[in-house]
Every structure is written in structure tokens, then in C-alpha cells.
């Protein structure tokens, strides 16, 4: 069985500061990794994904994440955040094998960017 751990439930940060949101996963099989963002009262938007290849992946809105297989981590980073980045961020994994791409989700990290 797979599981996803997001180590920080809330991350307050000042505008223009760097931020890292941590994600670790557990799986007995190879997985795809994702970060989704959810703005208040909105749906789920894909920020970035790791499917294969380079372990550093770049996404939308200036976010990037690095897949570390040995540490089973997929931490999300942004060098300089904006007020508009305030949102809930979810890390998720799905099986690489087979066709069923169901996602297993972390509990989420609430990013609060303050002026």
C-alpha cells in the first residue's frame, strides 16, 4: 500500500521569501509523483509532476520539485513567493504499473504568504 506524508500542516512565510513544502512517500512499487494546488473555494490544479527522467521538475507559477528516490521525497520549492501563492498544497502519488492511475494524497500543507 502507498502513503504520502506532508510533514508541515501549515507554513507561514513572508512575501518574496523562499519556501519549501515537504513530501515523503512510501510505496512498494514505482510511482508517479504530483503536486496540486487548491486556492480557497476552488478545485484542484496540477502544479507539476514527476513521471520519469530528470529528477528536478519545473511547474507552473515558478514552482519546482526534486524527486529523491533514496529518501523517497518530492519536496516542493519556490525561490520567492507572492501573496497570490497563498493556498493549500497537496502531494500525491499513483502507481506506475498498470492503467489505474488512482491518486493517494497527503494531508495537505497550508501556505500562508504574509506581506
Amino acid at each position: 500500500a502507498q502513503s504520502v506524508t506532508q510533514l508541515d500542516s501549515q507554513v507561514p512565510v513572508f512575501e518574496e521569501a523562499p519556501v519549501e513544502l515537504r513530501c515523503n512517500y512510501s510505496s512498494s512499487v514505482s510511482v508517479y509523483l504530483f503536486w496540486y494546488v487548491q486556492y480557497p473555494n476552488q478545485g484542484l490544479q496540477l502544479l507539476l509532476k514527476y513521471l520519469s527522467g530528470s529528477t528536478l521538475v519545473k511547474g507552473i507559477n515558478g514552482f519546482e520539485a526534486e524527486f529523491n528516490k533514496s529518501q523517497t521525497s518530492f519536496h516542493l520549492r519556490k525561490p520567492s513567493v507572492h501573496i497570490s501563492d497563498t493556498a493549500e498544497y497537496f502531494c500525491a502519488v499513483s502507481d506506475m504499473d498498470g492503467n489505474n492511475r488512482k491518486l493517494i494524497w497527503g494531508l495537505g500543507t497550508s501556505l500562508a504568504v504574509n506581506p
Binding site: Q42, L51, R101
Partner: protein, 114 residues
């Protein structure tokens, strides 16, 4: 870019009533999913559906839940006798099993049980 469409955006229902949530998948996608997000909590997998049958379901997906694709386009989630704890955001997602691309999500249906 093609979209997954969910209706209604908000459904208010009395406890014990049946509700049907609807989703129009992306046309060439063959795998369909429902997820639930109780307010302030994480997103939870409910069920996946492929080739007109359930592929996998979670322990949340008990006998009060059912899914079907009645007309070849809509993909529906039915909750037979709603409980207060069914109040949540329900997301539909679809994927193309022939690619490794991630699922596409709809905007969700907010279900409020009174």
C-alpha cells in the same frame, strides 16, 4: 484544452435523500475516478471505473454509493441515502490509460447535507 465538467456545482439535500452527481469526462479518456474532500481535510479516493465496471474502490465506497455511465457520456456518482457526514466536495477525474499523463480534474461538486 479539454475539460472535465461536473454538475451541479453545489447541491443541498435533506438527510436520507438520494443524490446524483454528474461528470462529463474528456472524450478519449477511458478511466474515471471519484474523490471526496471533507471540508478542511485531505482528498480521499472513492472509486475508479473502467470498461463499464468498477476497477477499484476504497473502504469509504460502501453500499450506499454506486457509479455508472448510463448513456456513454455522463459518469455519475449516486449516494442512496445521504448522511450528514457525506457533506463534502466531490471531485471527478478522468485519465487516458494509454498514456502516463496525470488525471484531469473537474471543478468539483459541493454537497451539503442538512
Amino acid at each position: 484544452e479539454p475539460e472535465v465538467t461536473q454538475t451541479p456545482s453545489h447541491q443541498v439535500t435533506q438527510m436520507g435523500q438520494e443524490v446524483i452527481l454528474r461528470c462529463v469526462p474528456i472524450s478519449n479518456h477511458l478511466y474515471f475516478y471519484w474523490y471526496r474532500q471533507i471540508l478542511g481535510q485531505k482528498v480521499e479516493f472513492l472509486v475508479s471505473f473502467y470498461n463499464n465496471e468498477i476497477s477499484e474502490k476504497s473502504e469509504i465506497f460502501d453500499d450506499q454509493f454506486s457509479v455508472e455511465r448510463p448513456d456513454g457520456s455522463n459518469f455519475t456518482l449516486k449516494i442512496r441515502s445521504t448522511k450528514l457526514e457525506d457533506s463534502a466536495m466531490y471531485f471527478c477525474a478522468t485519465s487516458d490509460p494509454r498514456s502516463n499523463q496525470p488525471q484531469h480534474f473537474g471543478d468539483g461538486t459541493r454537497l451539503s447535507i442538512l
